[in-house]
């Protein structure tokens, strides 16, 4: 049964990725189309590829109070949490609503498995070494457990781990909790960090490019893996009449096709879009911009270019921004939601970075360069392993006009 969901106010958001920490760094990188990708200097065993690495994560241990949570993934989370005044916004919301009335839903695919990998490199008598013998960090809820403590939130607390759709699906979960009145607000987001599992794992699947990724290029050769942290605060629109950025709705579906490749027909992705349109009360003709999943894998980009050509009118502009950030996997949903919100706020269409020769399958919908134009409704696509699809719709409204 299709249920329409009322819009929610996005009252704070932030992103940290290879292009920099916080929204200003992202806006600058988008404006200049400056990529954060660099040759792989991360792995202990060499792997010839490019990565989107966040500078300085290693040198910032967590505050002593959170010592049991200390690991690279949670350091990246903490760095991300401390940008754009986000902590202060959450503290104010906690004052307003109470700690039990704010949900926390975070997406991650890696969680802190990098710490488990490190433990296995330094085994002592077939046991994790003492400094890493901490159960808090060797499980997939490590990120959310840490952030719940750091933000002192006592509401529903959930990790969603559906590979590359993880931190898009958190918006859908939060929307349902707020709509049912179980909470008044939700902190959503996601963090994924570089680690051997994803670099050598995607390499084993022959999905990693030896050069910087080129989404939708005719000669694209695969993905560049990146890391990122991002968060957003969602509240009821009617309680925040001054808010101008809104989540209009979320759509979800399953491909039921293959564990590690998308259904080439795009049927699953299309179902997620129709689910989204129903909930948001819009149709394809209302969409001004789509931040595509656009990983630079052969199969995703072919499927997604055909999807755009099939469903959207010529005035809908589309692009992938993974040429700037890399594919941040479980954090891609939140980073690209933040980029979509920036595009709405600033009134521009981000160019599809990294392309030399566009794939001939790409229709004129594609914005190869930045375009300055007001946009009112924008989507963000996230498609993950196991055929997990999530699409989000955001809108910019004038104060007092709730979409």
């Amino acid at each position: 049964m299709s249920v329409t969901s009322p819009p929610l106010a996005v009252t704070a958001y932030t992103a940290t990725s290879a292009v920099g920490a916080g929204l200003c760094a992202h806006l600058q990188a988008l404006d200049q189309q400056r990529s954060g990708l660099r040759p792989n200097d991360f792995n202990t065993t060499p792997l010839a590829c490019w990565i989107g690495r966040v500078d300085g994560v290693e040198s910032r241990p967590l505050p002593d109070d959170y010592a049991q949570w200390d690991c690279r993934n949670n350091r990246l989370a903490w760095l991300g949490l401390n940008q754009d005044g986000f902590l202060g916004q959450v503290h104010a919301a906690r004052q307003r609503y109470g700690a039990t009335r704010i949900a926390l839903l975070l997406g991650t695919s890696t969680a802190s498995i990098g710490a488990t990998e490190e433990g296995y490199r330094r085994l002592a008598d077939n046991r994790l070494p003492d400094d890493l013998h901490r159960s808090a960090i060797h499980n997939p809820h490590s990120l959310t457990g840490f952030i719940a403590e750091a933000l002192d939130l006592h509401g529903p607390c959930l990790t969603i781990s559906t590979a590359c759709s993880s931190s898009a699906k958190v918006f859908a979960g939060a929307e349902r909790l707020i709509r049912l009145g179980i909470v008044d607000a939700a902190v959503v987001g996601g963090v994924d960090s570089l680690c051997d599992s994803v670099l050598f794992g995607f390499n084993a699947l022959e999905l990693v490019s030896s050069e910087p990724c080129r989404p939708f290029d005719a000669a694209r050769r695969g993905i560049s893996i990146g890391e990122a942290a991002g968060f957003a605060l969602l509240e009821r629109a009617d309680a925040n009449p001054e808010a101008t950025l809104h989540l209009l709705g979320c759509g979800e579906s399953s491909d039921a096709h293959h564990m590690s490749t998308p259904d080439p027909s795009g049927a699953g992705a299309e179902l997620a879009l129709h689910d989204l349109f129903g909930r948001a009360g819009i149709d394809a003709s209302h969409v001004d911009y789509i931040n595509l999943h656009g990983t630079a894998s052969q199969k995703n980009d072919a499927m997604e270019a055909a999807l755009v050509a099939r469903l959207f009118p010529p005035h809908t502009r589309v692009s992938s921004t993974k040429g700037l950030t890399g594919h941040t996997l479980g954090a891609a949903g939140i980073v690209e939601a933040a980029i979509t919100l920036l595009a709405l706020r600033e009134g521009f269409v981000p160019g599809n970075a990294g392309v030399n020769t566009p794939d001939p399958a790409c229709t004129p919908h594609f914005a190869w360069r930045n375009e300055s134009r007001p946009i009112r409704i924008a989507l963000s696509h996230s498609f993950g392993f196991g055929g997990s699809n999530a699409c989000l719709a955001f809108a910019r409204t004038t104060a007092g006009d709730n979409a």
């Binding site: 607390c157 390499n203 084993a204 196991g386």
Partner: protein, 263 residues
């Protein structure tokens, strides 16, 4: 808060000493289980996939199919939530061992089996399910958080939802640290409460995190050895057709589950 009211349409359960809900009823009735099965049937999967799939996926598939069969729902349109506290620890142990020594020899199949949503992926592919699927965790509170998520989906979307919660035994240095020593899975098909003869549950978030009636020693041992067995107080209520319990839904909050006795 709006009361969350759901009904239970189907139940699945598998652990080596109790391979379905009827076997659990016998354990709850005081029987001491003797037989021990090593592998679930997982007949939702094709023979090929059954061979390729790790134990974690087989346990999840087994309980999911039991619950869906009992509900008489069609799996291909059923939204699903797969919860697991630790995911596939045996695969994580394999990955970390290989990555520590010969990372370029990592198996691509074992890598894609390592994602937390592997069971959700196998299930939706096997049943041709295009409805939304999710994979979640919340540490030791994964069952309660999964129950909340599934109930919220059912009530917010007005649709039936399959909830699966499963964990398998850990191995190696990771297994030593975590201490999960048993394979255990449970599944429920739940839908918005309606007048009828199905068990009705009222759910509410509360300050306490755990409270339940006394369970047989076999069940408390399972709860000690596997976080997904945190569902057993609720399973006992379903077997006894009444009662209430609190299951942990996070480090801070529990889910008070009250069962309305059917007429």
């Amino acid at each position: 808060m709006t009361a969350l009211r759901v009904q239970i349409e189907g139940i699945g359960l598998w652990t080596p000493q109790a391979t379905d809900f009827d076997a659990l009823r016998r354990v709850l009735g005081g029987d001491v289980p003797l037989e021990s099965v090593t592998r679930p049937t997982a007949s939702a999967l094709s023979i090929n996939e059954r061979r390729r799939a790790p134990e974690s996926v087989l346990v999840a598939m087994e309980v999911a199919l039991q619950a869906v069969n009992m509900s008489r729902r069609s799996a291909d349109s059923l939204a699903c939530v797969f919860a697991s506290a630790y995911g596939d620890q045996a695969t994580t142990d394999y990955m970390c061992r290989v990555l520590a020594k010969t990372p370029t020899e990592l198996s691509p199949t074992r890598f894609h089996n390592s994602v937390h949503n592997a069971s959700a992926g196998y299930w939706t592919i096997a049943t041709d399910c295009h409805a939304p699927s999710s994979a979640i965790c919340a540490g030791p509170a994964s069952f309660g958080a999964g129950l909340l998520e599934a109930a919220v989906q059912a009530c917010a979307q007005q649709c039936p939802v399959l909830l699966v919660c499963s964990d398998t035994a850990g191995v190696g240095p990771l297994g030593e640290l975590i201490g999960c020593q048993l394979a255990f899975g449970a599944a429920l098909v739940l839908s918005p409460a309606a007048d009828g003869r199905m068990p009705q549950l009222n759910l509410a978030l509360v300050e306490e995190t755990s409270r339940h009636a006394l369970l047989p020693a076999t069940c408390t041992a399972w709860m000690r050895d596997n976080p997904s067995a945190a569902c057993l107080p609720l399973m006992a209520m379903l077997a006894n057709n009444g009662g209430e319990c609190v299951v942990a839904a996070s480090a801070q909050r529990g889910l008070l589950v009250k069962m309305e006795v059917s007429a």
